[in-house]
Amino acid sequence: MELKEKLISSFWGLDSSVEVADHINDLRGVAIKIFEQSGFPSKKQEAWKYTSLNKIVNQDYSLESKSDKTIDFNQVKKYFLHDLDSYAIVFIDGVYSAHLSHTTHDGMDICLFSAALTKPKFRAIIENYFNKAASKDSMVSLNTAFASEGAFVHIPKHKAVEKPIQIIHFSTGHDSTMLLQPRNLIIADENSQVQIIERHQSLNSHPVFTNSVTEIFGERRSRIDYYKVQNDFEEASLIDHTFIKQEAESHCSVHTFSFGGKLIRNNLNFSQNGERIESTLKGITIIGEKQHVDHSTLVNHKAPNCESHQDYKGIFGDQSTGVFNGRIMVDQLAQKTNAFQSNNNILISDKATINTKPQLEIFADDVKCSHGCTVGQLDEDALFYMRTRGIPKKEAQGLLTYAFANNVLESVQIPELKQRINKLIANKLGVNIGFNL
């Protein structure tokens, strides 16, 4: 049976024992119909021109985890930012793991999406926010139809969360190949502040396919920093959709670090719905082998006096493929918009490919919008200079590459995370960076 049919038939056979509000059921019904009509995206669609899902969707997946699994903390300790005091929401093969997590309802809600869906006290919030920012295309709808588990974060007015929140998805690969569909809902009320680290990690090289959707709502004057660390094994595929809806004077930044996985597609959509909003989108991609990373960003400027900054760096080795598809849309109302986008790429192997498509669609005249995009190599002169000073070639390449990617790290607000990413980059590049930044 094709994956699409399997999904649809399993939707209608879904266990309805979990009570949810009627309107959620309606939403799901509509969503599955959208998916049924449009199916998996194909390369014929402009947005998926450079990324093919064929290989992934032609596999057989089990949709639910068969048994409860527990992982010993010591086994996965290294994936936590253990030197950092934090809240944690941990999932193993899509199932919540209570003993690894640290949630709270004290003054704010950092808990499970399933809890929010079912408990009456969250009903109003779910009704107001759930599926309100997400788009209605087929992969998102597929997630909406099955959305039942994930992280739920609700920060009330004037509250600054004192420590970061880690959302970690482990896949054990104990079962056969898994299809996971986590759904996160993050709401930062007026004047609140929160930092979130999301991580996808597979524990061995069994194939896993994750279709994740995150909705983030930044109310007036809220501050949200969201970090995505994607360091899966080579058999894991991830399609991530993040929708951010910002209100006036809010600041939101999303950093995406893609170092692993067979295929990663990041859809990152910002929607600015008030004045004086700042949005930051940054990313570092370092991949090799036959890996494929696709960043698809959209910043929709709908109101005047807003800013957006995009900075994506990519380093592509072996036979890897990088895709960057960045869109900036400026509505007629959004005068005085400042929108910047830059995408720099280095190809370090002659079989690597980069496809980049930075787009501007502008309907307002009093704006400053620019994008820049480069594809190039490491500077031969700089390499030579370092080698004359006794730095081995590999080290020199590593240093230069590190320097190339470094300015994306500058805006990371959590020192421990910065340190960790530094290490990951050094590992990826096979060099020892003996200094701390």
Binding site: N355, F363, D365, V367, G372, C373, T374, V375, Q377
Partner: protein
Amino acid sequence: MSKYTEDDLREELKTKEYEYGFYTDIESDTIPIGLSEEVVKTISKKKGEPAWMTDWRLEAFRIWEVMKEPEWANVNYVKPDFQAISYYSAPNKKPKYNSLDEVDPELLATFKKLGISLDEQKKLSGVAMDVVIDSVSVATTFKKTLSEKGIIFCSISEAIQEHPELVKKYIGSVVPRTDNFYAALNSAVFSDGSFCYIPKGVKCPMELSTYFRINQAGTGQFERTLVIADKESYVSYLEGCTAPSRDENQLHAAVVELIALDEAEIKYSTVQNWYPGNAEGQGGVYNFVTKRGLCEKRAKISWTQVETGSAVTWKYPSCILKGDYSVGEFYSIAVTNNFQQADTGTKMIHLGKHTKSTIISKGISAGKSQNSYRGLVQISSRADQARNFSQCDSLLMGDECGAHTFPYIEVKNNTAKIEHEATTSKIGEDQIFYCNQRGIATEKAIALIVNGFSKEVLNKLPMEFAVEAQKLLEISLEGSVG
């Protein structure tokens, strides 16, 4: 001090009527509307074409029949009804002139209105013109000078008769009939166009130029241009268009093929000023053009275009950089006003090693127009040391227009160096203020700024054409070009 502001300019642009909208009354030999195999055969027969050409057209027609109109471009328009167009019209009085005196006076008057009177051109600028009025070439000048050098410059129908071996070899070699919907249509029904062959080692002593005009109401124009520059030769080719005011939408689907053999250089410049429709967005020409050039070893093709007209423009002059060390260039100014829509750009396909390409695109949008740049830079895995620089700048005048950029960059080689930059802005108030401060009136200041904005491209136009280009720019943005 004059109180001329950007608003005034906008107002003026809105009300500016197309100056060159007139209609020449020349009897035409038009065949019934509609398109079928019969029509294709009739066109071919009327032109007395050999059998291979008729078959080539019919094959193209069959390809066209199963193709669909492309919809990916960022433009909205009423699709033309291909069965409501007459596919052939030729001026009735078959002219064979040796001097200008024999030319239909009405025709000469037409050109005078455009300010490009033949005799003046002939005397002053030394430009040989292959004048095309409604598809059939009516006058060819300076043929003698050219033929002494061995240069062939004639209409494509003549070339089919007299140089079939060249036409047969190269037609459809760069833009195959299967390439796209409009290329297939053009291949099936092209009525006429220009043919140019520069022999080995010859530098063409003058700028070759043809003027296209759409004249007969409801007649689509399907031009076919084929330029072949043999090894180590050079040619600069100019193409300019103006069309009379019509309320119906006219379809223009031309195909231009350039072939630059080893170490040859072709410079192809276009000024396009088809009727853009009136201020309400009615009428205007649909300009769906396929232009492509092929570069062999160390060859160079340079496209320069000034696009001011047409209701809908859909045009991507491209370079296939096949030979090692070949060079492709693209310089473009696209001006849109009122309800005009332009989706234009280029494709640079790097296949050979050490290939270089440069793209400079300037978009100016005013009124309610939409101006898009859409370009592709593709570096194949064998194109070592390929180099590309692209710059796309947009200038917005008024808050109802749009400027869009859709660059596609595909790199499969790690020695490639690609740079792409795009900016969008309006005329800075501080810039205008600075000029005002120094006693330059706002009108002049805007003119200065717009001029400076497009200078990089205007400079690339051949001298003889620069004047013409400025004249045509004025129609779209009068008051801003000084």
